[in-house]
């Protein structure tokens, strides 16, 4: 351990260089060809397979696994991409334990589901390593579509539209594309700059131009897009971060988890990312877990996730909770945050109420991970207003908003569960709907 591993306060470089590589390596090392075939052989090729029904993108899982088993990983990848062009990232970040693998009959039978996520990664990695493009664009339609946001929903939508022969222009607020794949999820789930590789792979179909650094409502405006394009797809995600409330201190060490993770993801050298010796993460979702585990991986000595509800209501899956605990994160429940305590402009503790009692947890850094919100300011009145529902854009079953020629999908809508895979499904389905509307 480096000399400053126990340094008080917030500090970078708590670990030896090798520790960073180890701590941020692949959570699941990729299966090799033989492992994949052996695992694939465990699949029963179920009829009307429960896994397939549980997949938000309805990937034909039994078929793609059988294709792996028969030594056809490229065919397998196409089966996956047919439904989910971001199948590579979803293989890494999907909470499979609550989706396909939860209902795998092997899970029912023996508590050991077929490792569907890892098999999906094997197939998609094989295709991407060979830069095998499964699709050709249809003849040009002459239609152009604006896609706002180059995250999972926007990329899925853009790819499907490009496939259909439309030209797509993507406007992305951030410097890099990929959305939460690039800025949000834990680094150890998408190693080796996978998010950027996937963006390149998806856009290689052609007909997709991405403009980075274009924020809706600032650099571009919905009213203008409607004038310039045949259709608009909104997939800009959630720009707002929920506030803790009155007790939040504007002090050094009080950070939003999403911002801190984004900074970590963009850091070229992880040893330069500062982290507290003692860290408290407020929240109970995936972001809370990702922040907590990565804080530990950076060398934080004590990390506590404090969730206001009981364990049963925690949004992070049991697998994620167990992962956090294995990495040395303490999980505390029924911790209602009251205030962040600062001294001399620096965070020193967080006060919670737990079953009527006051509990104070000392810390150098507190991450707030209590959810994100849609920032409606982006729809800034340059066009007729779009109906919101629960603070997010209201869409129908195929992604149509209340405004003609405008579709939406992903986290900015009212219809999802904030999963990458759901955003992909919505982007894809909206593209199909746009295509139907434009070619009707």
């Amino acid at each position: 351990m480096a000399g400053n591993s126990l340094k008080e306060g917030i500090a970078a470089g708590r670990l030896e260089p090798d520790d960073y590589a180890r701590n941020f390596s692949d959570l699941h090392p990729p299966l090799d060809a033989h492992e994949a075939r052996v695992e694939a052989d465990r699949c029963y090729f179920c009829h009307d397979a429960p896994c397939m029904n549980a997949c938000p993108t309805s990937i034909d899982i039994p078929l793609f696994i059988r294709q792996i088993q028969t030594g056809n990983p490229l065919g397998s990848a196409k089966t996956i991409f047919d439904q989910n062009i971001l199948g590579g990232m979803c293989a890494r970040v999907c909470p499979t334990e609550t989706l396909c693998e939860e209902v795998c009959v092997r899970e029912v039978a023996e508590g050991k589901p077929v490792r569907i996520g890892e098999l999906q990664r094997y197939a998609t990695d094989t295709a991407m390593a060979q830069n095998k493009q499964c699709y050709r664009r249809a003849p040009a339609t002459g239609k152009t579509i604006a896609v706002v946001g180059a995250g999972p929903a926007g990329l899925a939508c853009a790819h499907r539209l490009a496939m259909k022969g439309h030209d797509v222009e993507v406007f992305e607020a951030r410097a890099k594309s990929g959305g939460l794949n690039e800025y949000g999820i834990a680094a150890y789930k998408a190693t080796d700059r996978f998010a950027q590789a996937e963006v390149d792979y998806v856009t290689a179909i052609g007909g997709i131009a991405i403009h980075n650094g274009k924020t809706l409502g600032e650099d571009i405006h919905l009213g203008d897009l409607l004038g310039q394009f045949d259709a608009v797809f909104l997939g800009m995600g959630l720009a707002g971060v929920n506030a803790l409330g009155a007790g939040d201190a504007d002090a050094e060490g009080s950070d939003d988890a999403v911002d801190w993770i984004a900074g970590l993801r963009q850091a070229g050298d992880l040893s330069t990312v500062p982290v507290g010796r003692r860290v408290v993460v407020i929240g109970g979702g995936m972001t809370a877990i990702d922040a907590a585990v990565q804080a530990r991986a950076l060398g934080a000595d004590e990390v506590t996730v404090a969730y206001r509800g009981p364990q049963s209501r925690m949004k992070a899956s049991p697998f994620e909770q167990e992962l956090a605990q294995t990495k040395g994160v303490a999980l505390q429940f029924e911790m209602q945050p009251k205030r962040v305590i600062a001294e001399g402009g620096k965070v020193v503790a967080v006060e919670f109420e737990r079953r009527g009692e006051s509990v104070t947890v000392a810390c150098d850094q507190v991450f707030k991970a209590i959810g994100q919100s849609f920032a409606p300011g982006s729809l800034n009145g340059s066009s007729p207003s779009i109906t919101l529902d629960g603070g997010r854009i209201a869409v129908d079953g195929e992604g149509r908003t209340s405004l003609a020629s405008v579709w939406a999908g992903g986290d900015c809508t009212n219809s999802g569960d904030d999963l990458t895979v759901t955003a992909v499904a919505q982007g894809r389905d909206a593209a199909e709907s746009i295509h139907r509307a434009l070619t009707a």
Partner: protein
């Protein structure tokens, strides 16, 4: 404790597990290791006539098919008979037999199909003190093209002729090894018996090409881009072997002829099945070539444990016990009616039974019941075919339950009768009607 001691044609061995004539029994070194590991006997790899030995290919001799995780299911070989000088083999056989008098040592022989060739080699083998000889009329590759091996085994007259020559020329028991590459195994077996053979052993390997290399379009195993049919063995051929053994065991003309069973014996259970179908010993090759000689320990212990559990004191209590239950289709009881039943507690809802039945059979298993995924047998449609049992991944989840006499078969609406009735008396059988007139 069950007694596994075997007495086959007067040849005694401490257990019925013999190594078949094959690569594992080509040399003194291997055979000594086999006996040390506990094998009851070996059939020494086939000797050819004196003079320059045959030569083998110098590329791959084996091809295989595998299950998941490369479990070897079937092996094919294009190796010939021993490629070592006759005198070396004879010297080694003599030395091994001297040191292991309690084990069976049989010598496999293949020489040209003329009386002089056989008469020349038999005294040499006899001199080694070997317990018996096995006539290799089985190998389907290489030697058969030179008029030996299966080329002889496919002509019953030749079998009878050579067996007779051997019986006349030696005091040693004569076992005739049969090829499965023939239409009806009873004919060569009958010929062997007619020629005076003391026993038959079967099956030899099945003519085969294991696979085709889809990059080079060469059959496997590939010798410089070309391949040749080889002999197939291992677990995959066991059902073929069991049937051929049973055919000989129940044929009135050969019933009682001692049989040494060969073909995919991998576990004690396989061996017990061969014994039950009338074999006095079993011969093993692929299992040993896959796992080494130690596998015999599992076979010995497993057979012993099963016999103890079932109260079978010795091999004679087991040998042939299943033969009487092998019959012709026309004698099967058509009044025996069974229906599949799915144990809902054991069912893991994979749906394989449903789709197999729905797509390929009788539409007799539900998929959805009251909007719920639920798999249940529709007795009105179930013909009791057993396909669902065979495709179900859960052991004992689906069982075939016989209807009791007096119950109504919901498929036909008929009451189940207690009488035995078969095709020979069935009204739909034109032959039966004729007989009734």
């Amino acid at each position: 404790m069950a007694n596994l001691a075997s007495n086959f044609l007067g040849i005694k061995s401490p257990n019925p597990f013999w190594l078949a004539s094959a690569p594992p029994t080509d040399k003194e070194y291997n055979v000594r290791r086999a006996f040390e590991a506990g094998w009851g006997g070996v059939v020494w790899k086939t000797l050819g006539e004196a003079g320059p030995p045959v030569v083998n290919v110098n590329g791959p001799r084996y091809g295989a098919i595998w299950g998941a995780d490369r479990r070897l299911l079937g092996l094919n070989n294009i190796e010939l008979i021993t490629d070592r000088p006759l005198e070396v083999n004879l010297r080694e056989i003599k030395a091994v037999k001297r040191d292991y008098p309690d084990r069976a040592l049989i010598v496999s022989i293949m020489v040209p199909c003329d009386e002089a060739s056989w008469k020349a080699i038999l005294p040499l083998v006899e001199e080694t003190g070997a317990d018996g000889i096995e006539l290799n009329f089985g190998c389907p590759h290489g030697m058969s093209e030179r008029g030996m091996g299966s080329a002889v085994g496919q002509v019953p007259e030749y079998i009878e002729m050579v067996a007779r020559w051997c019986k006349q020329a030696t005091r040693m028991p004569v076992i005739v090894k049969l090829t499965p590459n023939i239409t009806d195994i009873r004919y060569p077996a009958r010929a062997a018996k007619k020629g005076g053979a003391d026993a038959v052993s079967l099956i030899n390997t099945v003519s085969s090409i294991t696979s085709v290399n889809l990059d080079t379009f060469s059959p496997e195993p590939s010798i410089d881009g070309k391949g040749s049919h080889g002999g197939y063995c291992g677990p995959a051929v066991k059902p073929i072997a069991l049937n051929m053994v049973a055919e000989i065991a129940r044929d009135p003309e050969t019933h009682g002829l001692p049989i040494s069973g060969i073909g995919g014996v991998t576990t004690w259970r396989d061996a017990a099945e061969f014994l039950a179908l009338g074999c006095g010993t079993v011969q093993v090759c692929t299992a040993a070539m896959t796992y080494g000689f130690k596998v015999v320990q599992e076979m010995i212990a497993g057979l012993e444990n099963w016999m103890d559990e079932k109260g079978h004191a010795d091999l004679d209590s087991v040998i042939g016990r299943a033969v009487g239950n092998v019959t012709d289709w026309q004698y099967l009881n058509l009044n025996y009616i069974a229906k599949a039943r799915i144990d809902q507690d054991a069912c893991i809802q994979c749906g394989r039974c449903h789709i197999a039945c729905e797509d390929t059979s009788h539409q007799a298993i539900t998929h959805m019941v009251d909007g719920r995924r639920h798999f249940e047998v529709i007795e009105e449609e179930c013909v009791g075919c057993n396909l669902c049992v065979d495709v179900c991944p859960v052991e004992n989840c689906i069982s075939m339950v016989p209807l009791k006499p007096g119950e109504v078969d919901k498929r036909t609406g008929k009451v189940v009768e207690s009488d035995y009735a078969n095709w020979t008396t069935h009204p739909n059988n034109p032959m039966a009607r004729q007989a009734a007139e």
